[in-house]
Symmetry: C2
Subunit: 655 residues, 2 copies
């Protein structure tokens, strides 16, 4: 009596990737509905099962589909947009501005479909995602026929799909309700990372995940910088911090974990958390070598992820598995670490467990979903095939085979690719649509690149602050003269400040771009101690609006932004043609004179040693008003001791 099944695959070298690493050199596998009903030696299976859809696998390797444990699929549309940059420049200079402009439900659906096509062609059957408009990611994934653990992002910043985190949380709840129970999609919630979330967000997302018993997918301890900041701000490393916020009460999938210690590993283990290791991303962004061998020894379920295709730049799990083995060997200084067999287990069974779907996929076992691939080991780069040891087969797949050797892919009992032909997606159409986006993004960025101002605005947070400024500057021989004059009754002092200022000027090959000044303002108290440090970025027009007589200048509009990033960030982002530095002491008075407000700066320019200067400044909002102010500025300069008029900025005095 043979049982009839939907599909019978035979003449395959089966790597089941089960706990015992069972292989069938001449194996067969039977599928009914969405499930594997039998796997074993082909003589035995063919005696017991019959199917009208019998497939001779021609000796190919039949194995579970690969599991990509961490990615951001819609970012396929941003692949190759900007590379070889620091994480902050890449993220805040390129990804986030483009995302603010372009990320939409349509963008996410298209990006997901492209990723799914790439996944299918490279043998991936399940993946864990985290992005915006996750409902659209889910719909596209289900349409493509792939299995996904998909997390709606929540963070403290406004996102393309949510103006506030409360809104994002509400979306996540709706998303989970809608998709919970779907045969392919496991909805999840994704607090982006501890440093982009408040403690409230971490707690709320964990509670949401627990309420619906869905996974929580987040980034943890990716960089040494993150851990250092966490220690400085909260006195503990990342894992104890998120535990304190209740995050580990959820079924956590933690991406990266590059910088965690053994205690933190045990904390994750006891919480039942899975880890997604991302070797390409960690190498490319110089985040470090994750302690994979140690994590596995601890007993953690560590899967492998590609991370997003904008920082990898592909979704190729064959490359990723090989690299995982390489990184573990180098990190532990031991070439026997993470042998091929174990690396492949990470990319299948362990990855599925890390994603909390280990019960249904990740290995070829009776009762699990039929998520499987065929790999052709005939291509030359896999030749020859040794069979002395069962390990030879794993080494072949991990160290020699390529994603392009995958010929057939089935997910949930449905063929998605046969003989390298996609069955659920139209590749040419996807490519056309992707190119259309690329043209728009290119145009957006090229326009931005043409102007320092638009690059500054693209960063967000910049304001057109002091629109016009009337000012005069004189060289001062003796600062005491100015100080004495300021004590006279004609002057009413509002406040006095003392700053130490470090000005870095970026100049550009095209003078019309103006100058960009990065200023560090150290506020100094009466005892000479620094009490406050502030960084500001100011774009200064190169040309003056004009001189107003008596060498009083009207300066062009300025754009100001708080410099939330480092000088190094801006250097890389704006790519100045040249850079100059000024260090000075500034005494600043806010005063009233003849009923008008003025700023008096008494500067001592120390590096380079230019001497003492008096600046008198006033804001004005109209050209008419400027004439009056200009007269008063000139008068005030004379009142304060006068001196040789200077029309150059300090930076112009530096050769």
């Amino acid at each position: 009596m043979t049982q009839t099944v939907d599909f019978l695959l035979f003449n395959a070298h089966i790597l089941t990737m089960d706990e015992e690493f069972t292989q069938y050199r001449h194996g067969a596998l039977a599928v009914s509905g969405d499930k594997i009903v039998a796997v074993g030696e082909q003589a035995e299976i063919r005696r017991a099962y019959h199917s009208e859809n019998s497939l001779d696998c021609g000796g190919k390797v039949l194995m579970p589909g690969l599991v990509n444990a961490h990615t951001h699929v819609p970012m396929t549309l941003l692949r190759g947009l900007a590379d070889d940059l620091r994480l902050d420049v890449w993220l805040m200079g390129y990804m986030m501005p483009v995302e603010r402009e372009f990320v939409s439900p349509e963008f996410c659906r298209l990006g997901t479909l492209i990723a799914c096509a790439e996944f299918i062609k490279s043998g991936v059957t399940s993946f864990a995602d985290m992005y915006y408009f996750e409902d659209d990611v889910a719909q596209a994934t289900a349409d493509a026929g792939l299995r996904g653990v998909l997390g709606q992002t929540v963070m403290k910043y406004p996102a393309p799909d949510a103006a506030s985190y409360e809104e994002a949380l509400a979306m996540a709840r709706e998303f989970i309700k809608k998709w919970k129970g779907h045969p392919l999609i496991v909805p999840a919630v994704s607090p982006h990372a501890p440093y982009t979330c408040t403690p409230d967000i971490l707690r709320a997302t964990a509670e949401l995940a627990a309420e619906f018993d869905v996974p929580l997918h987040t980034h943890l301890a990716e960089t040494a910088f993150e851990v250092e900041n966490m220690r400085n701000e909260n006195g503990m490393p990342v894992i104890p911090y998120v535990k304190k916020q209740g995050l580990l009460d959820a079924k956590v999938l933690a991406a990266h974990c590059v910088h965690i210690d053994e205690g933190e590993m045990r904390t994750l283990l006891h919480a039942g958390a899975g880890v997604a290791h991302n070797p390409s991303s960690n190498l490319k962004l110089a985040s470090g070598l994750a302690p994979v061998t140690k994590m596995l020894e601890t007993g953690l379920n560590v899967g492998i992820g590609t991370d997003g295709p904008a920082s990898n730049n592909d979704l190729d799990m064959f490359e990723e598995v090989r690299l995982a083995a390489f990184v573990a060997k180098t990190q532990s200084n031991d070439p026997t670490s993470l042998p091929a067999r174990q690396a492949l287990a990470m990319a299948t069974r362990l990855g599925a467990k890390a994603m909390h779907i280990g019960e249904i996929t990740g290995s070829l076992e009776t009762g699990k979903r039929a998520d499987l691939i065929l790999v052709d080991l005939n291509p030359l780069h896999n030749s020859p095939r040794f069979e002395r040891s069962p390990d030879n087969a794993y080494a072949q797949i991990v160290y020699a085979a390529k994603s392009t050797d995958v010929t057939d892919v089935m997910v949930n009992g449905r063929w998605l690719m046969t003989e390298r032909r996609l069955l659920t997606l139209d590749e040419a159409d996807l490519l056309r649509q992707a190119d259309e986006y690329a043209r728009q993004i290119d145009a957006f960025l090229m326009e931005r690149e043409q102007s320092v101002l638009s690059k500054l605005i693209a960063l967000g947070g910049s304001t057109e602050g002091e629109s016009f400024e009337v000012q005069a500057k004189v060289k001062v021989a003796d600062p005491a003269v100015v100080k004495d004059a300021l004590k006279k009754p004609e002057i009413q002092i509002v406040y006095k400040r003392h700053y130490r200022q470090y000005d870095n000027y970026f100049t550009f090959d095209e003078p019309g771009q103006g100058r960009l000044r990065y200023r560090e303002d150290d506020s100094v108290d009466a005892k000479g101690k620094i009490k406050n440090v502030r960084e500001r970025l100011t774009l200064i027009g190169e040309n003056r609006e004009g001189e107003m007589g008596e060498d009083v200048l009207l300066s062009r509009s300025r754009y100001l932004a708080p410099a939330t990033q480092s000088l190094r960030f801006y250097r890389e982002y704006f790519k100045p043609g040249a850079e100059k530095t000024i260090e000075k002491e500034r005494l600043r008075w806010s005063i009233k004179y003849q009923g008008e407000e003025f700023y008096i700066n008494l500067d001592t320019v120390e590096k380079p040693d230019l001497g003492h200067f008096l600046e008198v400044k006033s804001r004005t909002w109209s050209r008419t008003d400027a004439d009056k102010k200009a007269r008063l500025v000139a008068e005030l300069v004379a009142f304060l001791g006068g001196g040789e008029m200077v029309t150059q900025d300090y930076i112009e005095m530096v050769r």
Copy 2:
């Protein structure tokens, strides 16, 4: 007036990879004979040149063929044979025994042809090799139509193609004479490495290379262990040592250079040496992260190599370039290190320079040989294509493209592949032949694996030493009794020794395999100081030949080998089922008694604490003789004080 040329390629996105990184977004290239006669904007080129062989490249990327700066091509036949092992186990336990058995001219020709097929399919047009029977490697390379800098190996050990280094040197001379001036082949000499060559060999190979003005290709500073040994033995690191031997007088191509400092980099630079960086191999064997960024900053020509396909496990330069960028970023902790453009330059122009063929290949420039490839960026994993920056094209190739995207390959003005069809090689036939070798090697190794003895013999150097041994052992309460008896006139003492012995016993699940003992023998002088340490490996049959009456044993034959490798090596190589350790003090006398020679051992077994034992032993070469010896042994035991007879080995007394 248009000039007629052999080939005209147009409608290509040309990356010339010249010093200025010139790109032509809509470019064309003209080839006549073996050379590029023009490259530029297609409108211009098509006005000036005409060809009957005009190829519309359909917008593909046209770039110089990739340059693999370090490999061992015949090892394609050993790909996947043994992985995830330490370098020494891999090399001495697997590669060398198999090479001793299988490497022949035929093996080298086939292995080279397979490598060439793989090179062509993955866009490699030039490579630097080092192996045995290099004349056959050269012939196969020329037949395939690829360009090679090919080095005949010279080392102090016997090699598959040379019983002595003098023989290898003579072969190298003949090889260079034969191939010098060939349009595709640049012959070279390859002293394997400083630790496998005598100073004489280094000097002689450098002189040979200088005499014929050919490159010298060697391995330098691959592992920290090599550098440590070099410092211990010669008081200096690797580069100064080889400089001292005159090696740098030649045009050196130095593979690896993982562990060199800035001074050594400058030494290499001043000597005009090139470096081949091998990221996959260095990661897989846990050799470390090479200081690539620093080497490039120093001004060295650093190319990229795959190393041999038995330690990689493929010849895919697309993977290698990406990995080179990743490794540099991680090694320098800076994601802006080694951007895509520079990584690709390493794999083309810089690699050719490192191989000392930079004048003729490595970039698409007028006058250089026509070594070029077409890369199709249409496949999904390369989508979309951004064009904002010239760097986008390099990032696409380095971070996203795959070797399978290469569609057409030309070397020296001859097409070797068009539309992924090989024109000079029969892939199916090569695969069949490779499989035949794989079956033979599998059989050889499987037979070897069945027996600890054959694994021991495969290591080389083992001898069937003490064939039969007659022995008796008694428990001794007071060692002084034995010592006193040895002073009696019946005993003639030949010599006396004092050892401290550390015995590690490997046992195997199948008892018939016997026990393998790794013994460290510390010879102790009269003052109690260790004067000599010797390690020996002994295979001991499990079963005795028989007891000879009065508990005198005749032991089975033993195989002895000097243990030239570490205990750790043998542990990994022999994979024992269990392991036990004994530590003891041994006083050993060589004596004569009744005209026969005997060994007397007075042992104090300290770990575990088993007490004192007296062993009386004698060698015998015939069974007849054994009876006589057995009687004498029993007599001698009684004479020395007697005691409780013990038939167990110490190891059997340990639970």
